[in-house]
């Protein structure tokens, strides 16, 4: 036979072997060398579903929930399975037409393909939810899906609590390593943001196997790699819900802010900024309708003035100015200044609101009557202190004191984006006045009465009261007293709030004098007509000039005088005298906190005060121009209904329920420097009428 070709059998074997060798080579590169195919397969087939834990709840000091979680329902559709749907009935329930129905189905297909569930209608109202559950059998492919939303049973503290919202691209970039994904919700402002990691808990992950059409096949590896969700932790705050509500109510129809702190702990009892908004307006389906309007509103209802607003403290600074001079040994409590109604030591006389001789015969009296001349003099003494070589060195020392009191720097409250306001640097004055050799205490004279470039946030002002009330120290103002089952890290996060801030060494007797002076303010001084039933208290009024119009009305206080439990700062923008508007608000807040209730008389006063409209004319005009019906602020605490405000048309017609005595339009004053050099407003009768 053809044996002569026998070696060719061997060659064929070699050929076959070579081809197999090539195949094995490729298999090695696919299966052994490269691991990208495994990743590709996982990306293909493993679907990670995030299980969201319930967010933590925030309680007030009496364990009342400031916010809770509520269940909201979305109507969800899987387009592929939505066959034989009674569309007419469904459209009827959802109040839409057939065209809208088809449009939404197409949108769902585009968004999530035919086989995956997409949201057809988010945040169902209870009525629609009820109707749908009854009729769901008529709508194959449709189902109701739960989701957790925030709910605010007291309709209050929107600025403090903040809101949660869907994360955006920027957020994801910032928090890359924290495992957020598109579609997640996270705290965007307020406590929700600051305590995001605590509140959000730990998300669980479930892995599913999905097929080439994206349809879920079942659990991956029987859930071996799944992690369970751990609920977020609750926060226990120092807020008193009633004081908070009262503060917001009193600030209605005004621009301003009120902050109340417990000086013993630094815990914030109430923090209100007006205009605000009802936090329930930013949850669920209401968010879409409200957020745009809130963002565009010229009165900036989303802006937390209590920590971001910068106000000249005006006369409320005077007790601190006195403390500096006392501690530096420049004056004694008996120091007096002979004021005849103006201060002329620096040329161009500065008016004081009092003429009667002896109203600044000693520190206590000067405080009670808020004598401008006295404190201008005291300030000059501090700057031109003979202990230091120059006015500049004296100023640096003075600024050091101010920083120690918590001004001109961030206090470190547990809310995001706190403003440090301004205690001017010498550099700023060098720039304005040239070489430090050329300027002296006269150049920034009005700093002595809390004007010039000095600004403070309402929180800083309240904190300064806590500092005086405690006679030399304060605790960093904060909301969160404790976290549920606190871990070490969380305790470390809260540690600064539990540390006494004692920077100065001012002796107690100086504080006693200041306290007595401030007490006199409430007895026969500028705030004599404001009483807190059952308690003696200390206070200081302020009427601050500002470049934006009428004077700001300020009031700082603490009570009770001998064992302070609450320190308050109130600011009402462009309202006039401190004692007229801010004062009564502060008084009512102290009363509510200390007595846990208001007397009938006070209640009436509060109701009236809440009605007073002190909105600047410019803002009112903006509302009229933009055809907005209201400032969204008013929240009817007494009614259960979240009624929407009174109509702006009424305002336009001037049929406002109450109106201030002052009717001349406050033209904006853009020139800052000029106002600073201007004298303070001429005096007006001290016994200001209190509007009913």
């Amino acid at each position: 036979m053809s044996v002569y070709n026998q070696n060719r059998g061997g060659i064929i074997q070699i050929i076959i072997g070579t081809v197999f060798f090539l195949i094995v080579g490729q298999l090695v590169s696919l299966q052994v060398v490269s691991n990208k195919y495994k990743l590709a397969a996982d990306n293909n087939a493993i679907f990670r579903k995030i299980i969201y834990p319930d967010r933590g709840i925030i309680y007030d000091r009496k364990k009342r929930a400031l916010l809770e979680n509520a269940i909201s329902y979305d109507l969800v559709v899987i387009p592929n399975e939505a066959k034989g749907v009674d569309t007419a009935a469904l459209c009827d329930i959802l109040k839409m037409d057939q065209a809208e129905y088809s449009k939404r189905i197409v949108e769902a297909i585009i968004k999530n393909t035919r086989v995956k569930a997409s949201i057809f209608e988010p945040f169902l109202t209870p009525e629609i939810y009820a109707q749908l559950t009854e009729n769901l059998y008529r709508f194959p492919g449709f189902s109701l899906s739960e989701r957790s939303i925030r709910n605010y049973p007291y309709n209050t503290a929107a600025h403090v609590l903040g809101y949660v919202a869907e994360v955006d691209v920027n957020f994801l970039k910032k928090h890359e390593s924290e495992g957020y994904e598109m579609g997640d919700y996270a705290g965007m402002t307020g406590l929700e943001k600051n305590y995001e990691t605590v509140l959000m808990g730990q998300r669980g992950v479930k892995r599913f196997l999905r097929d080439n059409k994206g349809k879920i096949q079942g659990a991956y590896e029987k859930g071996e790699f799944d992690t369970t969700a751990i609920a977020g932790k609750n926060l226990y705050t120092s807020v008193d819900v009633q004081v908070q509500q009262l503060a917001e109510k009193l600030l209605q129809n005004k621009i301003g802010s009120a902050v109340a702190i417990n000086p013993k702990t630094g815990g914030v009892i109430a923090m209100a900024a007006s205009p605000g908004y009802n936090p329930n307006l930013l949850t669920g389906s209401k968010r879409r309708k409200t957020i745009g309007r809130l963002l565009l509103d010229t009165a900036r209802p989303l802006y937390n003035r209590a920590i971001k607003g910068q106000y000249p403290p005006g006369s409320t600074f005077k007790p601190l100015g006195a403390l500096i001079a006392l501690d530096e040994g420049l004056i004694t409590p008996n120091y007096g200044y002979n004021c005849f109604g103006s201060y002329g030591a620096c040329g161009d006389p500065r008016k004081c609101e009092h003429h009667n001789a002896g109203h600044a015969a000693n520190l206590q009296l000067a405080l009670a009557y808020s004598c401008n001349s006295y404190f201008l003099q005291v300030f000059r003494m501090a700057i031109d202190n003979p202990k230091y070589s120059s006015a500049k060195a004296g100023y640096v020392k003075w600024k050091e004191y101010m920083n120690a009191f918590g001004f001109g720097r961030k206090l470190g409250v547990d809310l995001p984006s706190e403003n440090k306001a301004n205690i001017p640097d010498t550099a700023q004055y060098n720039k304005d006045f040239g070489n430090p050799k050329y300027w002296n205490s006269c150049y920034m004279l009005t700093l002595g009465i809390g004007q010039d470039r000095m600004t403070a946030t309402p929180l800083q002002l309240a904190n300064s009261m806590a500092f005086i009330a405690n006679e030399g120290y304060y605790y960093t103002p904060h909301f969160v007293d404790s976290i549920e089952s606190e871990t070490k890290e969380e305790a470390a996060q809260l540690a600064p709030f539990r540390t006494k801030q004692k920077i100065t060494k001012i002796p107690k007797e100086y504080f006693d004098v200041i306290k007595e002076g401030m007490h006199d303010v409430t007895v026969f001084g500028t705030a004599a007509f404001i009483k807190v039933p059952g308690h003696e208290y200390c206070a200081k009024t302020g009427t601050a000039q500002n470049p934006h119009g009428k004077n700001h009305s300020l009031f700082v206080c603490f009570a009770p005088k001998d064992n302070p439990q609450i320190a308050v700062a109130v600011i009402v923008e462009n309202a006039g005298y401190g004692s007229t508007w801010a004062g009564p608000i502060g008084g009512l807040l102290m009363e509510q906190y200390l007595n846990d209730t208001l007397t009938k008389e006070s209640q009436l006063k509060a109701d009236n005060l809440a009605q007073v409209d002190l909105m600047p004319e410019a803002i009112k005009n903006w509302y009229v121009r933009n055809n907005k019906s209201a400032y969204l602020t008013p929240i009817e605490y007494n009614n259960d209904e979240l009624s929407d405000v009174w109509d702006m048309e009424m305002l336009a017609e001037g049929v406002v329920k109450t109106k201030t005595t002052d009717t001349n339009p406050p033209a904006p004053l853009p020139n800052t420097d000029k106002t600073n050099k201007d004298s303070l407003l001429p005096n007006a009768d001290k016994k200001k009428k209190l509007n009913p």
Partner: protein, 449 residues
């Protein structure tokens, strides 16, 4: 014969091949089971119901076992006697499919038979061609050193191949090139093999390189050859002429023939697959056939997709070294690989059992092929040997092409993995191939003509 068939049945039958055959078939059923497995249904009941592919394949195997036993019970002389008739009738059946054929997956190569089963004559024709080729070469009057014989054999192979192309079964047509092994063994000059090899290298180079660059490279090679061999061919003008002719043919192949075939002969998807194998994209706008159909439908040309190969590579690659485990392949469970039952069955093995599995699996195949070669070499009759090498060639071609295409070494052509892929016709063909060989091998002492 009837009196001592008991003896005949077992005597001389190669048990190793039977064991390997059964092993492969069972692995096949298992692989199909992995593809079809659904954790939500009870596999036992769905197996008994007979509606799933793996249960069908199981029944095919039982049927094929009967066929195998039947073949072993026949007389070897039947095959030599019937070879030409079977070949002729096979060709007739293929022709008949053009008239009564049924279209499945775009190829009109199936004849419906009873019970919802379909027969693919082009598959069976491989067996008949093998027999007919063996018959032709083993004729005493055939001198396989002559070119005339080579041409006749070539035509015998080309006939069914051309018919298969007519049925849009490019893969099956290509399989017929596997007979080159048998022909080589019987005396086909190695020059032809070398020529074919260099030709395929040229084609691949055409795909990979710019035509101009390739032309320059070819010219440089030709020039160097002329310089080197110029002295030796000083008096032999023929040699120089051959080199120049080969150079011209190569250049024209690169510049004209290959583009012409790609753009005018092959379908757009076929060219796309060939290009995707070397990692390139093919613009279907260049394809005449595609252009014609595009004008008809008025659609824009589609981007080429190599989805199959991509998913197939992902599946095999994700198996890693040890594999994901039996029934744990996510690619398989998620049905990411199209045609995973049939042409891409290798992926389910690759994903579940990893490199260890595929290596062992290839080892089994290699052992099987070498065993067949050993059988081929021990035949006394040319008929048996040619037939045996035909079987080796067909098996090898199927295995090499099928696995190469799943791992991206070869363009996707629809040919099954022998004994593994789902499909009755395919299993029956390979069963017939193997068992006829076993029958012939049992009678290896006989001289068959």
């Amino acid at each position: 014969m009837a009196s001592n068939y008991d003896n005949n049945f077992s005597k001389g039958t190669d048990l190793a091949v039977i064991v390997l055959y059964l092993m492969m078939a069972c692995i096949g059923i298992l692989a199909i089971f992995m593809v079809e497995y659904n954790p939500n249904t009870n596999w036992a009941t769905s197996f008994i119901s007979g509606k799933t592919s793996y249960s069908k394949q199981f029944f095919f195997l039982i049927f094929c076992s009967f066929v195998g036993v039947f073949i072993l019970l026949t007389d070897s002389k039947v095959f030599t006697a019937l070879a030409n008739i079977l070949f002729a009738s096979g060709l007739l059946l293929m022709l008949a499919t053009f008239l009564i054929g049924k279209e499945i997956n775009g190829s009109k190569s199936w004849i419906p038979i009873a019970g919802g089963f379909n027969l693919q004559p082009a598959e069976l024709c491989k067996v008949f061609t093998a027999l007919a080729l063996a018959k032709f070469i083993s004729r005493p009057e055939t001198d396989f050193t002559k070119i005339r014989s080579h041409l006749i054999a070539g035509v015998m192979i080309a006939l069914p191949a051309i018919l298969a192309i007519g049925q849009h079964e490019l893969g099956l047509a290509l399989v017929y090139s596997a007979f080159i092994f048998a022909m080589y063994r019987e005396g086909l000059p190695p020059m032809i093999l070398i020529f074919l090899l260099s030709f395929s290298i040229l084609i691949i180079a055409t795909l990979l390189l710019e035509p101009t660059l390739l032309a320059i490279i070819l010219s440089v090679i030709a020039g160097l050859l002329l310089l080197y061999l110029g002295k030796r061919f000083k008096r032999n003008k023929q040699g120089i002429l051959i080199i120049v002719i080969i150079w011209m043919v190569s250049i024209s192949t690169v510049r004209f023939v290959v583009p012409y075939i790609f753009n005018n002969v092959l379908e757009c998807y076929q060219t796309t697959r060939i290009y995707s194998m070397v990692g390139k994209e093919y613009d279907c706008g260049l394809n005449k056939k595609a252009a014609a159909s595009l004008v008809e439908s008025g659609k824009k040309s589609r981007k080429p997709d190599d989805y199959n190969v991509k998913q197939s590579k992902i599946a095999i690659g994700s198996g890693g070294f040890w594999g994901r485990g039996f029934l744990k392949g996510t690619q398989t469970r998620g049905k990411y690989v199209p045609e995973q039952n049939t042409d891409f069955i290798f992926t389910s093995i690759g994903e579940a059992f990893g490199f260890v599995g595929t290596f062992t699996f290839l080892g089994l195949y290699l052992f099987f092929l070498f065993r067949l070669i050993r059988i081929a070499e021990r035949q006394r009759s040319t008929f048996s040997r040619v037939y045996a090498y035909s079987v080796v060639g067909i098996f090898f071609f199927h295995i090499a092409v099928n696995i190469s295409m799943t791992i991206g070494l070869f363009p996707v052509v629809g040919i099954p993995l022998p004994l593994i892929s789902y499909g009755g016709s395919s299993l029956l063909t390979f069963t017939a191939l193997v068992f006829i060989l076993l029958r012939l091998d049992a009678d290896r002492q006989m001289v068959l003509r």
